[in-house]
Amino acid sequence: MFTTLINWLDHRAGIRSLLSAMLLEGIPGGARWRYVWGSCLAFVFSIQLITGIMLMTAYSPSASQAWNSVHAIQYKMDFGWLIRGLHHFGSQTMMVLIALHMLQVVIAGAHLPPRELNWWLGIGLLSVTLGLSLTGYLLPWDQKGYWATMVATNIAGTLPEIGEEVRHQAVGGPDYGNYTLTRFYALHVAILPLTLIGMLVAHVAIFRRHGVTSTENKQGLVSNPENEHAKGTEPFWPRQAFYDMLACMVVFGIMLGMVLYGFAHKVTPPPHEDGSEPNLYEKIARYGVEGKGAELDASADRNTANYPARPEWYFLFLFQLLKYFPGDYAIWGTVIIPNGVMMILFLLPLLGFGPVRKLGHFVGIVFLTVLFVMVGLLTLKALDDDQPEGILGGIMKTGDEETRKKEKEKAEKFQHDVHEAEIKAKRACQLAMGGTHVEGGHVLLRNDPYTTGNLLFQGKCGSCHNFSAGKDDKFESWKGGKSASDLGDYASFEWIHELLKNPGKDTHLGLVKLRVLDDDKKPKVDAKGDFILAPAKGMINWRKGIDDAQARWRESEDADVKKKVAQQNDELEVIAKWLADQRHPKDKRNKELAKQGQAAFELGRNKCKNCHVLEGTNGAGEDAPDLTGYGSTEWIRSMIMRPMHGSRYGEKNNMPAFRDQEAPGALKEFRDLNPTVTDKQIQFLTDVERELIIRWMIRDYRPVFGGAPIR
C-alpha cells in the first residue's frame, strides 16, 4: 500500500530522484564535523519560521495591545512560554551560529573564487538576520524593546542628509506608535523572511554547485560528473546527514535548556474558580508562570523617567563602540566603522584571484579573527562598564582614581535603575494576570499602588513623612521625611500603641510642628507674615501627665492604688487595639473590643475624651482630631484633602491640603470653605494619585481606575 503510494508519487512528481539529489550529494573528501554549521543555521531558521507562525496566531501588532497579547502568550496560553522562548533564544542562537559559520568558511578559504558570489549572498543573509533581530526585538512592545529600538532608529537618523527621512520612514511617522509596530511587524514576518528564504535557496544552490571546500575540492568542481567518482568522495547520506542531525539536536538542546532555565518573571496565576488545584498537564502547559521562557519586561510606557536601556547582547559591541565617538564624531561609531567593516568583508574574496590567493586567504583569516576579538572585547567592556566592580575581577577597569570613582557611581546608578525596572516588570506581569487594560499594559502600572503609589508617596508626601517598611514588605523604607510622622504601619495596633506609650518619638509626633494660636484661636504670624510654629506638645504633655500619675501610684502604700499602673497600661493597650479596629467598616469591627475600648476611652483617668471625639462615645474634646473611622481610607482621604478641617487638626494644622484643583471652580470652592488657607497650603494631587497613595499606605495593592478597583 505504502509502496504503491510512493510509486504513484514518484511517477507524478519524481520524488525518488528529488530525494536522491538531496541526500546523495557527493562530498569530496568525505563527511566532516566542521561542515555542520550551515545545516544548523538552516535548522534554527526553520524553527524560527514554525514558532514565528505560531506566535502570529496570537499576536496583535498595535501599540495598545501588543504587550497584552504577548503577556497572554507567555503566561496564559498552553505552551506559549515554550514557543515564545524557542523563538527568542532561536534568534540569539542564529547570531552565534552565523559567527561560527563565517569563521569556518574563511578558515577553509570557501569565500575565495569561485565561491565569492556565495560569500556575498552570505553577507546579505547576515544583514537580513540582523534586521530580523532588530525588528523582532520591538514587537513585544515592552520597555526593553521600546527604548533599545528607539536608540537604534535614532542612530539611523545620524546618517548625513537623508538620516531624518530614513528614521521617519522606519518609525512610520514623527514618533513611535502604531505605525512603527505595523511596519516593523510587516518587515519581521513577511518582507525579511521572504527575502531570507530567497537568498537562502540561492545560497544552498550555489553551494551545491561548488561543493564543500576540502583539499580534494579546492576549485569547487563538484558539479562535474567525473568528480563524483573521485577518490574519497562520500555521499551526504548517511554519515554527513547524521553529523548534521546530531549537531542540530545539540543546538536545539541548548535552546531548550535556555527556555527551561527560564528568564521570565514569576507570577501567581489566579486560582481556579472551583477551587481545584492545577493538574500536571496544566502545570507543564503553563510553566511560564514559574518564570520559564523568555523575559517579558513591563509594557512600554512613554512616561518613564529613567529606563536603563541596553540593546540585545549581540548588538552591545555597537553600543560600546559609540561611547568612543562622542559628539560630532558619532557618525564614525554609527555609520562609518560598521559599514566600513561590512565593506571589507564584502571585498575579502577579491584577494583570492591569481598569485595573491594564498596571502589573501591568510589576510581573510587574520581580519576575521581580529574582528571577532574586537567585537568580543567591546562586548565584554560594555558589560564591564555596567558593573560597579567590573567583570573578571575588574581587570577591564582603567583610568585614574577620579575616573574610576565616577564610572563606579554611574554603574551603581545603572544597576539601581535595572533593579527598579525589574520590580516594575514583575509587577506588570502579575497585574496583567487579571486581564489587561484596553488602553495598554502600561495603564496597569500607572495605576498600581504598589509601584506608582510608592513613588507618589515619596514625591508628594516624602519630604515630610517617612515610611518604614514592614517585615513582609519587598520595598525599601523611605527615610527622606523631615517634619512629620512615619506612616509605615500607620494606624496599626503597634503604631498606635507606640504613640500612646511614647508620643515624642521621631516616628510619631517628635518631628511634628503645629501653628501657635492666639486667644481668638487664629494662627499667630511673625513680623514677616509667616506662621509661628511650635512642636506638637498635646500628646506629649498628656503622656507626661500619665507618667506623673503612674509615678504617684507606684509610690503609694495602698496595694489597690499600686495596681492602677498595670490596669492603666492594659487599658491603653485595649484603646490601641480598639482604635486600630476603627479602620474597618462598622459591621466588621470586633463588638467585644468596642465595648472594652469605649469604656477605657471614656475613663476619666485616661483623659482621651478631654481632647478627642469618636462617634458613639461620650467624648467632648475639640482640640484634637476626630477619631471616628480612624485609619480608614475615608479618614486618610479627609486628612489629605482637608487637614485644616475642624475634624482633623483645625487652625493648628500646618500640613498642606492635597487636592485636584483642575475641576472648574474647585479651587474657588475650597478657598471659600477655608478662608484662612494660604497658597502654599494647597498642593496639586489628582484624585487617582490620592487613591494610589492611600491604597499603598494601607497595603491594598489593587489598581485604581477612577477610584473603583477592577479585580
Binding site: 536522491s20 541526500l23 546523495l24 557527493g26 524553527i47 514554525i50 505560531m54 496566531t57 496570537a58 495591545q65 497584552n68 497579547s69 503577556h71 497572554a72 496564559k76 496560553m77 498552553d78 505552551f79 506559549g80 515554550l82 514557543i83 524557542l86 560528473p225 563524483e228 567518482h229 568522495t233 555521499p235 547520506w237 548517511p238 554519515r239 546527514a241 547524521f242 542531525m245 546530531l246 542540530c248 539536536m249 536545539f252 531548550l256 502547559a285 496583567a432 487579571g434 486581564g435 489587561t436 487594560h437 484596553v438 481606575f705 477592577i710 479585580r711
Partner: protein
C-alpha cells in the same frame, strides 16, 4: 547514479530517531498551543439587568434593551461592555402589581413558561445565521435572509430560512430595584441553524 546509497544503516536509523524525538518535542506543544481556545469558554450565564427598559414604559411595540457586564476578550478586560441586545415583548396579560419585595420574589419563583405569558424576552440574534433581527411587517424580520417571526417569536410565513423560532431568554423582575420596574435576564447565545436551541459555551 554513480554513488550507491546505503539503504539501511545504523546511522540512518539514528538520524531518523533523532528527527522523530525532535518532532515530538516541538510538535506536541505546538498542537496544544493551537487548540488553546478550548480553554476559552463563554462565561457562566447569570441574571443581568436589561439596560434601557422599564416595565412602566412597555407598550404594544417591542423595545430593545442592552445587557452590560464585564467582558473578557482574549487578553483584554472590558470593565463595562455591551454583551448583547434583547427584544422585550409585552403580551396581552398585564403584570401583577408588586407592593413589596416579597411579592417580587414570589413572582420570580414561578416557572418561566408561566412568566412568559406576561412578557417575552428574545435575543436579537437570528436563529438562522446570527444577524441582528429587526422589527418588520407584523412581527420580526431578519435583514439578512428574510427570516420572519411573529411577535411571540414563532417562525412566520412560508419558506422561512430559520429552523426554529427566536431564542427566548429566562427573565425575572429585578428584586433590588426599589420601584420593581426593571427586568433581569439570563443572557445567552445559541448555536445557529439547529432545530434545537443549544446554548454556546
Amino acid at each position: 547514479m554513480a554513488l550507491e546509497p546505503q539503504r539501511r544503516s545504523f546511522l540512518g536509523f539514528l538520524t531518523f530517531g533523532l528527527g522523530a524525538i525532535f518532532s515530538a518535542i516541538l510538535g506536541v506543544p505546538i498542537v496544544c498551543y493551537v487548540i488553546d481556545p478550548r480553554h476559552r469558554r463563554a462565561p457562566k450565564s447569570a441574571m443581568k439587568l436589561i439596560d434601557g427598559v422599564k416595565l412602566d414604559d412597555l407598550r404594544a411595540t417591542p423595545v430593545q434593551g442592552v445587557i452590560r457586564d464585564t467582558r473578557v476578550d482574549g487578553w483584554t478586560l472590558y470593565p463595562n461592555d455591551v454583551l448583547g441586545r434583547v427584544w422585550v415583548v409585552k403580551r396581552d396579560q398585564a403584570l401583577p402589581a408588586f407592593p413589596d419585595k416579597a411579592a417580587v420574589v414570589a413572582f420570580n419563583a414561578r416557572p418561566q413558561a408561566e412568566k412568559d405569558a406576561f412578557l417575552l424576552v428574545f435575543t436579537t440574534i437570528c436563529p438562522h445565521l446570527g444577524c441582528s433581527v429587526n422589527l418588520g411587517g407584523d412581527g420580526f424580520l431578519c435583514p439578512c435572509h428574510s427570516a420572519r417571526f411573529t411577535l411571540a417569536g414563532a417562525q412566520a410565513g412560508v419558506g422561512n430560512p430559520a429552523r426554529r423560532g427566536m431564542d427566548s431568554l429566562e427573565w425575572e423582575i429585578d428584586e433590588d430595584d426599589p420601584e420593581f420596574n426593571r427586568l433581569e435576564v439570563k443572557y445567552q447565545r445559541f448555536e445557529a441553524l439547529k432545530i434545537e436551541k443549544n446554548a454556546i459555551g
